[in-house]
Amino acid sequence: MRTQQQTTQEVLDLAAKHFNVPAESLAPEDDFFKKLGIDSLQTLEMLSRLENHFGIELPDYEVQGVSDFKTLAERIQSRL
């Protein structure tokens, strides 16, 4: 079982890799819309990547209004 810290780090690493952002530039409290410069389609792409990576389903309504990596990782942790 992953710890919350491990999950958060994996979310940051995955976001950095797929949206071509230096990993060291991302922090758990960052607003991922602003930091990654992503739109709604890319946000859904990120959701698919996260679901595929963690092997979970994360309903849209659970991430509605979430904009920082830390809270996103918490939502994922509750589905692991």
Binding site: I38, S40, N52, Q64
Partner: protein, 267 residues
């Protein structure tokens, strides 16, 4: 007409296979422009069908098959109209959509939706009208209509009921959540899973297999296994039009259209 290039889509016939490619910025929304060109496409079936085994429906847009109905156009056209005219406009538009999707559903050749990225609402309904859905692992499917006070209106519910179990349909409809390709495959909605970016290649491979078969046997098999649920489609059409007149729908559409945030308003 063996090839066509319009403002929102194009098609090309080659070796018994038609490739219909949606290519309309920003997200292949289905509005009046795409509907008109889809009508041209199905009108060409009479010419294309005798020499066609398969039609592949795909998208040229990155990250999206189709985001569904053009809600901005729908709202901007409907908002200034009195209720009766608004309803008449909706009935005309949705009636034309049903005619096109029914023609694709009953096409005298095999239809394959090669899906990548977002496949929501009307886009999902277009895929469901096809015989086979091949999706890459990044595809997502959703019916978000209830989040706007509506039901799917382009034939989505009867066609989904034709293909998958009712418990799954209730989850998808009542939550409005999107589901990934792996889940859609597990539920039997997606016939074949492809690697990221490979749905069209896999669809072409599948098409080349289908072209080997006798056309009469193929058409007979399709008639036998894929009846069109016309009565349920009619009832869905009436219910959708009735709901469209609700002030709650116009209010929800207004919030959606005016939201300039990174994720458009959806409750």
């Amino acid at each position: 007409m063996k090839s066509f290039t319009g403002k929102t889509l194009r098609w090309e016939w080659r070796g018994g296979v038609i490739e219909l490619t949606l290519d309309h910025l920003p997200a292949n929304e289905i509005g009046t422009a795409m509907l008109s060109e889809l009508e041209e496409f199905v009108a060409a079936f009479g010419v294309l069908a005798p020499e066609t085994s398969v039609c592949i429906v795909a998208s040229a847009r990155e990250s999206v098959f189709s985001a569904g109905a053009d809600l901005r156009e729908l709202y901007n056209k409907a908002a200034p109209l009195p209720k009766e005219e608004r309803l008449a406009g909706v009935r005309d538009f949705v009636g034309r959509i049903h005619a096109v999707f029914n023609a694709i559903d009953a096409a005298p050749f095999v239809t394959i939706a090669a899906v990548h990225g977002v496949c929501f609402g009307g886009g999902f309904e277009l895929a469901l009208a096809c015989d086979i859905i091949i999706a890459d692992k990044m595809a997502r499917f959703a019916f978000p209509e209830l989040r706007l006070g509506l039901i799917p209106g382009f034939g989505g519910i009867p066609r989904l009921k034709r293909d998958v179990g009712n418990a799954f349909i209730r989850d998808v409809l009542f939550t409005g959540r999107s589901i990934n390709a792996t889940r859609a495959h597990a539920m039997g909605l997606v016939a074949q899973l492809a690697a990221e970016g490979e749905a069209l290649r896999v669809a072409r491979g599948t098409a080349s297999q289908i072209t080997k078969f006798d056309p009469f046997a193929r058409a007979a098999a399709k008639d036998f296994v894929k009846p069109i649920p016309l009565e349920e489609l009619r009832r869905e059409f009436e219910l959708f039009c009735e709901l469209c007149t609700s002030p709650a729908v116009m209010a929800a559409l207004k919030k959606f259209v005016e939201d300039s945030g990174p994720m458009p308003y959806l409750p």
